[in-house]
């Protein structure tokens, strides 16, 4: 029983990442009608905002040791981060909290990147066939990842969580398990709560603000909203920026879980598209529900008891479920009639 509970927790934190990426994808698809294969790259760019912030906070004063030499004969470098030299212990705290600080910095950075991407490239493809949108956004994703690789290299770059969130939480005690049986990394629980909060914020924004109402109306019928004299294009630019912020924040918060490298966006992209299709193209609720559902199923499929019965099931479960759901419900779990059907 504790093993099942652990896998549910695992599925929830994994599903949180899927849901956040799929949510952005669905907003862009629903509002702009664009199939954005560069969305994984936005997730990766968010992660590299964290890498950059950490790198900036860790910029060091380098002095040469007059006595000691390296193995190749040059003087040993003594390094001290500027923030520690300037602010003492507070500087060390800043470096320790680099990831949470990066979330705040990622918001304006990703908003600007998203707006630049939409104004600079995506808007020219609104009326083009989906195949062309896929080609151009996929190409963009490859360009972005190669740029990141040339700047940061190909190896993963570790981004530790703040010390306070590095430990484990005995989650089992809270729900009646014996002490020590369901312990789970604190940061992963934080990630799940973070993703739930972001999802709630996005839904609230779309549901309870005038801006959100216009966007939802635009998602339903773009032409009519335009005829009402509303500049829907400008709003859609902001929507694209918002989706980029969601993906970017998801990427930043994921860095202590998975050391970021240039390829991490592609790893998530394919899965997230499956999530969107399973949830139903254009359905925000469907994307979130499918994200968590597939995350949990993927975790269960990796249990040894399940793999003993169906060897290799862990590697195909997502696609198997996608096939089954699409056979039973061709529009996905919560898909709307008429979306992607013409």
């Amino acid at each position: 029983m504790d093993a099942i509970f652990l896998q549910i927790l695992n599925g929830l934190d994994k599903g949180g990442a899927y849901a956040l990426i799929a949510l952005g994808l669905t907003i862009i698809f629903g509002a702009l009608g664009v199939v954005n294969f560069a969305h994984g790259a936005l997730f990766m760019l968010g992660a590299f905002v964290a890498v950059s912030v950490k790198a900036i906070l860790s910029l060091e004063i380098v002095t040469l040791d007059p006595v000691n030499k390296t193995a190749w004969g040059t003087p040993v470098e003594i390094r001290l981060p500027y923030v520690e030299a300037w602010f003492g212990d507070y500087g060390a705290v800043l470096i320790n909290y680099a990831v949470p600080i990066s979330v705040l910095i990622a918001i304006p950075v990703m908003l600007l990147l998203g707006i630049a991407m939409e104004r600079g490239l995506i808007k020219y493809f609104y009326k083009r066939p989906h195949a062309e949108q896929i080609l151009v956004t996929f190409g963009l994703a490859i360009v972005v990842q190669e740029i990141i690789k040339s700047v940061y290299g190909a190896n993963p770059i570790p981004q530790p969580a703040p010390d306070i969130a590095k430990g484990m939480i005995d989650f089992g005690i809270l729900v009646g398990f014996e002490a020590g049986n369901v312990v789970y990394p604190a940061w992963r629980l934080i990630y799940f709560l973070f993703s739930a909060a972001v999802i709630a914020a996005v839904f609230s924004f779309l549901q309870f603000t005038t801006f959100g109402m216009v966007v939802r109306a635009g998602m339903a019928d773009r032409e009519t909203v335009g005829m009402l004299g509303i500049d829907i294009d400008r709003r859609f630019t902001i929507v694209f920026g918002m989706a980029a912020v969601v993906a970017g924040m998801a990427g930043v918060m994921y860095t202590p879980i998975l050391s970021p490298d240039y390829h991490m966006g592609m790893d998530f992209l394919v899965l997230s598209f499956v999530v969107v299709v399973v949830g139903g193209m254009g359905s925000l609720g469907g994307a979130v529900a499918a994200g968590f559902l597939l995350g949990i199923l993927q975790s269960f499929a990796s249990m040894n008891e399940v793999k003993d019965i169906f060897p290799g099931i862990d590697q195909i479960i997502i696609y198997l479920i996608a096939v089954i759901i699409l056979l039973v419900r061709p529009r996905g779990l919560m898909g709307r009639k008429g979306v992607m059907e013409h």
Partner: protein, 446 residues
């Protein structure tokens, strides 16, 4: 009516030509009786082909291999400080190229994909005239390129490849490996693990699902079970899984007290970091401290796991902190040129380039069968691994193996591993027949 047999000059010529061609056919294809060989250098230069990952997840390791090759070429041609040529026991190379020819090189990108690696090797052989191919960062790639080089009639000096199969069931006469293998890692790690953790242990393996992972899992199981350890489970994980947490959560309450991560590169960085995240390094099971083992360490990759490597045991082919004359000469030469110490990938590829050049010089030819004969059974020293031998039976180098541990107090970002034991060569040596395979004859091509 009887058909009349007519013999004239034309039919005799046709017949003898056909017979001559038929008789010559087998030896032509095997190349054994042919004087020439593939890409025999005619001018004042000889071309080496460096086939390394320049894109993809192993691009950084590939870049380090390329740096080492460039350094090796510089030293062979008499440039720089000579590096390990000064400490190498063979003094055949004199800093004036090989067999009087200056060494030049071409490069290919393996992308760590077998088909791409074969295509780039083929291009270097057919278009660029490479007489030897070397490099790579994966066993799958090494085995694929080794087969291609055998068919093309050029020597393959393997780069970083650790699977037993490269010089086991998939060995080829034209292929040579300096790097160690999973069998040696198991033999070296076994006694160290016993000393550190005792004989009463239960291991749980997570294994990358491809040739190297299976090979590594088999070797570690063999040697740890011989110590009395039990194997709780051996779970295969997809290559490049990224998040391994769904495979790690079942370990938590499995009753196992050792986790063996048969992962390399990015998979190793991720699975190790996540195992530490899940508290496995600080956990107590069955009244014992939980242990994590990474059988094949790469310092370059370990940097990606950051502080998570602290205290974790593994094995490595070479480490820049070694204090023998060869290692010091190489670190000095590499560090002065590039500003940081070389990785084990850089070391093995540098050695392979020098060993090949030296063999050609001693043989007085670049013909694969001649070079191979010079490498087979060749005993040498001064290349950073102590006394070493290229075993004739399987073209595998035998030398001491390093058991390392993640350093508790690193002094720099390169200082992540410490050598805890140098396992003597005798302890990791095995019968060549054990891993199967057949070298077959050399192919000199045409």
């Amino acid at each position: 009516m009887m058909k009349k047999l007519s013999v004239n000059r034309r039919t005799v010529l046709k017949g003898t030509t056909a017979a001559a061609a038929g008789l010559a056919m087998p030896t032509f294809f095997s190349g054994a009786a042919h004087a020439g060989y593939t890409n025999e250098p005619k001018g004042g230069t000889v071309t080496f082909g460096f086939n390394v990952p320049q894109t993809g997840a192993y691009a950084d390791e590939g870049a380090d291999e390329l740096r080492a090759y460039q350094l090796a070429v510089e030293h062979i041609n008499g440039g720089g400080d000579g590096g390990m040529l000064n400490t190498f026991s063979s003094k055949a190379l004199r800093g004036n190229g090989v067999n009087g020819k200056k060494v030049v090189f071409v490069t290919g990108d393996t992308q760590t994909k077998s088909d791409a690696a074969r295509a780039s090797a083929k291009r270097m052989i057919e278009k660029d005239g490479a007489v030897m191919i070397t490099g790579g960062s994966s066993s799958g790639v090494a085995i694929a390129v080794q087969g291609l080089c055998q068919d093309a009639g050029v020597i393959f000096m393997a780069g970083l490849t650790h699977s037993n199969d490269t010089t086991g069931k998939d060995k080829r006469a034209n292929g040579f490996r300096h790097f160690f293998n999973t069998e040696m890692s198991g033999a070296a790690l076994g006694p160290v693990l016993k000393n550190a953790f005792g004989s009463d242990r239960t291991a749980y393996h997570l294994t990358a699902d491809y040739t190297w992972g299976w090979s590594q899992e088999g070797s570690i199981k063999k040697y740890t079970e011989a110590l009395g350890w039990k194997t709780q489970a051996a779970v295969r994980t997809p290559l490049g899984a990224g998040d391994f947490s769904q495979y790690i959560t079942p370990v938590l309450n499995s009753g196992a007290d050792v986790l063996v991560l048969n992962h390399y590169g990015r998979d190793m960085v991720n699975s190790l970091s996540q195992a530490v995240q899940f508290g496995l390094r600080d956990k107590q099971v069955n009244g014992k401290d939980f242990a994590i083992v990474v059988p094949l360490y790469s310092r370059l990759m370990a940097q990606g796991a950051g502080e998570n490597v602290k205290g974790i045991f593994g094995s490595t082919n070479w480490h820049w902190s070694l204090q023998d004359a060869g290692s010091k000469a190489f670190v000095k030469s590499f560090g002065q040129k590039y500003g940081f110490p070389p990785s084990q990938a850089a070391h093995t590829t540098y050695c392979q380039a020098i060993l090949y050049a030296d063999a050609c010089q001693r043989a007085g030819t670049f013909m694969p069968s001649g070079v191979g004969a010079a490498l087979e059974g060749f005993k040498f020293d001064g290349m950073g691994n102590g006394p070493t031998e290229y075993r004739a039976e399987d073209h595998q180098c035998f030398k001491d193996v390093l058991v390392v541990k993640g350093k508790e107090n690193p002094t720099s970002k390169f200082d992540v591993l410490e050598v805890v034991e140098v396992t003597p060569r005798a302890q990791v040596e095995y019968d060549a027949k054990m891993l199967g395979g057949n070298l077959g004859p050399y192919n000199n091509g045409s």
